[in-house]
């Protein structure tokens, strides 16, 4: 080493002066995550938002900012809701609507998943199926209502057909993407383990596509309710949509809001079902679950 020492006369560099006043580092405590988290249970936190909204709405109605012919107050709506349930009109309308959604969802799931399997699993299926589906997907399905009425009449068929159509495409896209997103290393591992073609599909491809499929199902459920509203406001004589059209003719904003709330709750219920499915079926997933 040929580095010379500092001349003795030079003042010794006092590094102890730099960090803290008394020469020690300033330390900051790292708080354990458990003590940082609030003690409020999650379900309570999740319900806070909607409750605050309803309270605000009630306050606005009570102070006269929102007049009843624009929007009825929550209290009034609760009353009307009770009456509608009491005379059976709301429950029967809900029953009819639920049946339509269920039928459309079932058909759309079968068609969408079936097509996605064909084009996801086989390259020839992709060549034959994918292009037409991508074309049809861009046609706004609501615009097909007049055509469907001509084809299927004004009974249940056009309504279910519209819901089916709305449900099919998001499911198709997500299941297809799910299948094609399966890790090729896992496919190879499956092959090396001697899985047959069907075994690969069953044990590797389909479970791997499940997260995508459930995302598709969520989209589909949302669109199913949307399609239901459209379908039921055209030529319907039953169902929630029909109830709404009738209420519009009598300028009953309270009934309309009740129907909207029913739609919202059905949507929420559907979301809850999918969430539960996800928790049950995707517990293996090593993904980020939020802080």
């Amino acid at each position: 080493m040929s580095i010379s020492h500092a001349p003795p006369s030079a003042p010794e560099p006092d590094i102890s002066e730099i960090p803290g006043k008394d020469g020690s580092l300033e330390l900051e405590p790292l708080v354990p995550a458990s003590s940082r988290r609030t003690r409020v249970p999650r379900w309570l936190r999740r319900t806070t938002g909607p409750v605050v909204l309803v309270l605000l709405w009630q306050v606005l109605s009570a102070t006269g900012v929102l007049t009843s012919d624009v929007l009825a107050s929550p209290g009034r709506i609760a009353e009307v809701g009770r009456d509608l349930i009491a005379d059976g009109s709301l429950t029967s309308a809900m029953g009819t609507s639920l049946q339509r959604v269920a039928a459309g969802l079932l058909l759309g799931t079968l068609v969408g998943t079936g097509l996605a399997l064909v084009s996801g699993l086989f390259r020839i299926g992709e060549d034959l199926v994918d292009a037409p589906v991508q074309m049809l997907r861009t046609v706004p399905f609501v615009g097909l209502i007049p055509l469907f009425i001509i084809w299927f009449g004004i009974g249940e068929a056009p309504k279910i057909a519209i819901i089916t159509l709305g449900v099919t495409f998001p499911l198709y896209l997500n299941v297809y993407a799910g299948i094609r997103g399966v890790d090729s290393q896992l496919i190879e591992a499956g092959e090396s383990l001697g899985l047959s073609r069907w075994g690969l599909v069953r044990h590797v491809v389909l479970p791997g596509a499940l997260p995508g499929a459930l995302t598709g199902l969520r989209y589909s459920l949302g669109i199913a309710w949307l399609a239901l509203v459209f379908a039921e406001q055209v030529n319907a004589d039953s169902g929630i949509g029909f109830l709404m059209v009738q209420a519009r003719d009598f300028l009953r904003t309270d009934v309309i809001v009740v129907c909207l709330i029913v739609y919202a709750f059905l949507g929420l219920l559907a979301d809850f079902v999918v969430r539960s499915l996800e928790r049950l079926l995707l517990q293996w997933r090593p993904t980020f679950t939020g802080r």
Binding site: Q185, G194, P207
Partner: protein, 249 residues
């Protein structure tokens, strides 16, 4: 343990477990494996060394039957199993179901438990793969390979992603399992020490062929501090283009 090697298949020692002749595999006209010849005897432990990109993993994939775009003769036993560098467990199946995946018939849980016990993972049979540590996942992958009772076990850098301590344990485990099972093993690795530690024979692959062959006659269990061990290691490193004299300086 006695120093001689216990192997159940001593009677058929010289019967081949792998026969490869005139094997060629090209990617876009470039031959990664070029007229390769390879023989592995039953119960023999062969390590395959080579620089990255020399085609050793390709050779393993061909022997596993995963790559069929080949020319030449390749004879392998019907019962063979692979353990990859990453464990490749199906994340949606619990560990014991992963072990049984693809087995013919409908084998029960005890079969999986026994295989997991053998690799010291019996207590994690019910776990999801995401909860396993790297070493545990690799052992589960090993159990999945062994449960098939393979005549040929193909290992593609199975210890590459493990930390140093876990790797030593895993290497020891593979050595023990091989001695107990007596199957032929082809270990692809880039770790010369690992190759000398475990193999009967070390092959060095270069330019698409087996460029060098080295029998390892050291007694088992092997001692890496043995001067003969160091000599073999240095010789192989030199073959691979690493100058050990320069390394020591």
């Amino acid at each position: 343990m006695a120093t001689d090697v216990h192997r159940p298949v001593t009677t058929r020692r010289n019967a081949p477990a792998v026969r490869v002749e005139g094997l060629t595999r090209s990617f876009d006209g470039r031959a990664v494996i070029d007229d390769l010849r390879l023989d592995v005897r039953q119960g023999e432990f062969v390590a395959l060394l080579g620089r990255s990109g020399c085609g050793k993993s390709t050779l393993l994939r061909i022997l596993a039957g995963l790559d069929r775009d080949i020319e030449g003769t390749v004879l392998v036993p019907r019962r063979k199993a692979v353990a990859f560098q990453s464990p490749r467990l199906m994340p949606w199946k619990k560990v014991w179901r992963n072990v049984l995946l693809g087995l013919p018939g409908k084998p029960g849980r005890p079969v999986a438990d026994q295989a997991l016990e053998e690799v010291g993972l019996g207590h994690r049979a019910d776990a999801w793969p995401k909860t396993l540590s790297g070493g545990e996942a690799q052992r589960a992958s090993l159990a999945r390979a062994l449960v098939r009772e393979p005549d040929l076990l193909l290992l593609d850098e199975p210890f590459g992603a493990l930390d140093a301590l876990t790797r030593i344990k895993a290497q020891r485990l593979v050595g023990e399992l091989w001695q107990r099972r007596g199957c032929a093993v082809l270990l692809v690795t880039h770790d010369v020490e690992e190759a000398v530690l475990l193999a009967d024979r070390v092959l060095v692959m270069d330019d698409g062929v087996i460029a060098h062959e080295q029998h390892i006659d050291l007694d088992r269990p092997r001692d890496i501090t043995d001067p003969r061990f160091a000599e073999l290691r240095a010789g192989l490193l030199e073959r691979l283009g690493v100058d050990t004299a320069a390394e020591a300086a």
